[in-house]
Assembly symmetry: C2
Homo-oligomer: 106 residues x 2
Amino acid sequence: MSETKLPLVEETIAKKALQTAYSRETSALIAKVRESSESINSLEDLWFLHDLLSTKRYEIDGKYTYNAATMVFDFADLVKQGWLSLEDLEGLNSTMRSKIAALAKM
Amino acid sequence: MSETKLPLVEETIAKKALQTAYSRETSALIAKVRESSESINSLEDLWFLHDLLSTKRYEIDGKYTYNAATMVFDFADLVKQGWLSLEDLEGLNSTMRSKIAALAKM
C-alpha cells in the first residue's frame, strides 16, 4: 500500500487527467446521442437508444471517482478505451506511468 | 363476458383506433426525445432522458395490444391521456362508447 497515497502535485495531475477523460467520454456520448436522436423514426429506434443509455449509465457510474488505491488500473482502462493518453499523465512518477502503460496493453 | 367478442366491423374500428393512438403517442414521444436531445449538455441531462425513456418504455409495453376483454378500460385510458377522442371510436356500438366516455371522465 506504499503507493496508495500520492504526493499532492501528482494527485492534482491525476485528478486533472480524470477530469479530462470524463469530459472526453461525456462529450462523445452526448454527441452520439444527439446524432442518433436525429434518425429516430420508430419506437424500436427509441428503445435502442434507451438500451444504449442503460449500458452507458451502468459503465460510467462511479468510473470517474478518484481512488488512489485503484488508480493504476482505472487509468489503464481509460487509456485502453481511448479517453486518456500517456501524455495526459505526464508529471506522474515514472513507475506508475510504466504500470499504467503496461496494463493498458493487456 | 357477453361483450368480449365484437362483431368484425367493430373489431376493425377498434384496432384502427388503437393504431391511431399508437401513432400519436409514438410520434409525440419521438418529437419530445428529439427536442430534448438538442439541449443535452451534461451527463445529468442524459440520465434525465434515460429516466424518461425507462418510464415510457414501461408504460407503453403491451399498451397497444388489442384485447377485446379489456378494451373498454384500455380505450378509456387512451381518451383520458389524449391519444384518442370519442370521434375516433365512431362505429363502435353506443353502449361501449358510453362506457368508455364515462370511464374516461373518472
